[in-house]
């Protein structure tokens, strides 16, 4: 069965609709003992920053019902370290490598994008719009259609012909408005959703279980929210959508395709079993067959509304 997906014709072609999600797959190298990473549709790396970044205080992770609450704070060795130490080891000729960009200023997004886009081994760039915008007293880029667009167009200008993926946060009154705005700013693809802010507390200790107090919720707990966002966006914009949130099986992949996603990113499920994403890739054709799907582009967005 042909699972090929063309996200940006000629520039971002995936052999199947399954990518890794930022922050859950390292640089990709970490998962090489557990499967063949060249079999993935693409690798979206852990968040990269322009300069090395310490990240959040410990503890950073907590298990919650059907979810994982984390505050890593984009700990990163920096983009240059990634380009020098990780990228040359990645099989980027066989699988698209897509760094996830994090910055707190539009100019930093721009510089970071320029540095990464210049590399042959980089297929596309994903802009994390959940970052705090220090030009606007720390408001998240994605909270405002104008700042979201500004970050995207800065990255787009610096990225040359490399496709730009805008990753949206669901924490806004109307995610569709932001989606339209980043599309107008030149985003080639939208991915959603980013993590949802949450809090987990310890009553005995009377404190948060995370060092940074709040964290981002991911895992199956957020899947319905992600499906809703993907559905709303995919029926509105003309660019492809990558669905992210709580995917842990091939059937979950079909759910996202049904509501209009072109592709999906598998996130924290890779933590509960490093084989998850490889198993999903392997099982997808059989599950498609089981549900009578012979052409995924025909199946895409076919939910009766």
């Amino acid at each position: 069965m042909d699972l090929h997906v063309s996200l940006v014709p000629g520039l971002l072609e995936l052999k199947n609709p399954i990518l890794s999600a930022a922050g859950t797959f390292g640089s990709g190298l970490e998962y090489m003992p557990y499967g063949d990473i060249t079999q993935l549709g693409g690798i979206i790396t852990n968040g990269l920053t322009l300069r090395p970044c310490m990240g959040s205080p410990m503890p950073r992770i907590a298990e919650t019902p059907s979810g994982l609450l984390t505050s890593v704070g984009t700990q990163s060795d920096g983009a240059e370290y990634f380009l020098r130490e990780a990228l040359p080891q990645l099989p980027w000729r066989e699988v698209p490598v897509i760094p996830n960009l994090n910055a707190n200023f539009v100019d930093d997004f721009s510089e970071l994008a320029g540095m990464l886009a210049a590399e042959e081994g980089i297929a596309a760039l994903e802009v994390n719009l959940s970052c705090h915008n220090d030009n606007r007293s720390g408001q998240r880029f994605s909270q405002n259609p104008v700042t979201a667009a500004r970050a995207v167009s800065a990255v787009k200008r610096a990225a040359g012909n490399k496709p730009v993926i805008a990753k949206l946060s669901p924490q806004i009154m109307d995610i569709v408005e932001v989606a339209r705005s980043v599309e107008a700013a030149g985003a080639d693809v939208i991915s959603c959703i980013g993590k949802v802010q949450g809090l987990a507390v310890d009553v005995r200790e009377r404190r948060s279980v995370l060092g940074n107090i709040t964290g981002g919720l991911s895992g199956p707990a957020v899947k319905p929210l992600a499906l809703r966002c993907v559905w709303q966006i995919a029926r509105t914009v003309d660019i492809p959508v990558i669905g992210v949130g709580g995917i842990r099986s091939a059937l979950d992949v079909l759910e996202f395709l049904l509501v209009g996603a072109h592709a999906v990113s598998v996130g924290s499920a890779s933590f509960s079993d490093p084989e998850t994403i490889f198993r999903i890739v392997q099982e997808l054709p059989a599950v498609c067959e089981e549900y009578g799907i012979s052409d995924i582009s025909e199946f895409r967005g076919s939910m009766q509304a």
């Binding site: 922050g23 859950t24 797959f25 390292g26 970490e30 998962y31 003992p33 557990y34 852990n46 300069r51 090395p52 310490m54 990240g55 959040s56 205080p57 410990m58 503890p59 950073r60 992770i61 907590a62 298990e63 059907s66 979810g67 994982l68 984390t70 505050s71 890593v72 704070g73 700990q75 060795d77 920096g78 240059e80 370290y81 020098r84 130490e85 705090h132 720390g138 802010q197 005995r204 060092g211 940074n212 107090i213 709040t214 895992g219 199956p220 707990a221 842990r248 099986s249 924290s268 499920a269 890779s270 933590f271 509960s272 079993d273 490093p274 084989e275 998850t276």
Partner: protein, 318 residues
């Protein structure tokens, strides 16, 4: 609290390193695993062969303190090192339940043995595993303890921190060079104390009061001083307050000491970045000196002088 880090220093080091592209290659060469071969972890679905409570449950303010020896069939590992760990998850759990890191206690020809203290829902699930249940395991992960057969080696253990030293004693060619100082607040019958005593000299100190804990700390300092004088090394495993004490004394005495750190982890393979610890200026890769590294991949066994356990990362906006 000192963070051991200022952004400017970090950047300067970073660019300095950028001018010397050979530095990382030299670092990797220097830090090749012993024997020159990488131990590649594998993922396996294994059967539980036994799960027995260790000693009597001890009542406590946060519920009963319970200990288990969990035995799994042996994974098809080509090799492993004491100090390394596995990620463990019951197969029957919903996939939304994450795995837990467990230090490897022993590996025999037939089995993989883990020593578990129930501290929360994850370890409680492990305590309910029964013979015949299936678990998902990936490992062996991380770094192992230094083994110098002819060097006097002091093993410092507190509580469940005794676990990796069973395997260490199994693999050590001359256990007459090993001795252990074991501190515990619960009865020694909750721990494999007797099994350890059968292999080496064990000094077991039970502390029930803050004064008795002080005694343990002063005995620890004495022993570490003796091993410094004898040209020995020291290996420590236990809870963080204890490791911090050992870390301070080791640095004060300049005694070569390794610490096995325990951290919350969700992946165990360097992807989730949940288990960071901060390095000291002695970290072999200068670009990462004073910066976070992962306990799962750079550790869990670290040389004491290469870490800065007093450092913490400042809180950021939520």
């Amino acid at each position: 609290m000192s963070t051991g880090y200022s952004e400017n220093v970090g950047i300067r080091k970073y660019y300095f390193h950028a001018l010397d592209p050979g530095a990382f290659a030299r670092h990797k060469e220097k830090n090749k695993p012993r024997g020159g071969t990488m131990i590649t972890p594998i993922r396996a679905e294994l059967t539980v062969t036994d799960n027995v409570p260790f000693g009597q449950p001890v009542p406590g303010p946060e519920g009963e303190r319970r200990f288990y020896a969990l035995t799994l069939e042996r994974p098809e590992w080509k090799s492993w090192q004491p100090g390394q760990f596995i990620m463990l998850r019951p197969l029957s759990c919903e996939a939304s339940v994450w795995a837990r890191p467990m230090t490897i206690c022993r590996v025999t020809s037939q089995s993989l043995v883990l020593f578990i203290r129930v501290v929360g829902p994850g370890t409680d699930r492990f305590s309910r595993l029964k013979s015949g249940d299936k678990v998902v395991v990936w490992g062996p992960l991380g770094t192992g303890f230094e083994m110098r057969p002819d060097t006097p080696t002091l093993l410092l253990a507190r509580g469940v921190g005794i676990a990796p030293f069973a395997g260490y004693a199994d693999m050590h060619p001359d256990t007459s060079n090993l001795s252990m100082l074991f501190g515990h607040t619960l009865p020694s019958s909750n721990y494999p104390t007797d099994a350890m005593a059968a292999r080496m000299e064990v000094e077991s100190l039970h502390d029930r009061t803050p004064e008795e804990l002080e005694t343990f700390h002063s005995v620890m300092r004495q022993r570490m001083t003796e091993y410094k004088e004898r040209g020995g090394i020291c290996l420590a495993c236990g809870p963080m307050p204890f490791l911090k004490k050992a870390w301070k004394v080791a640095n004060e005495l300049d005694l070569p000491t390794q610490l096995l750190l325990e951290e919350r982890m969700s992946c165990g393979i360097g992807a989730c970045l949940g288990c960071s610890t901060i390095t000291s200026k002695h970290w072999p890769d200068p670009v990462k000196a004073g910066l976070p590294v992962q306990t799962c991949t750079s550790g869990p066994v670290f040389w004491a002088k290469e870490l800065d356990l007093d450092a913490s990362i400042p809180a950021r906006r939520s």
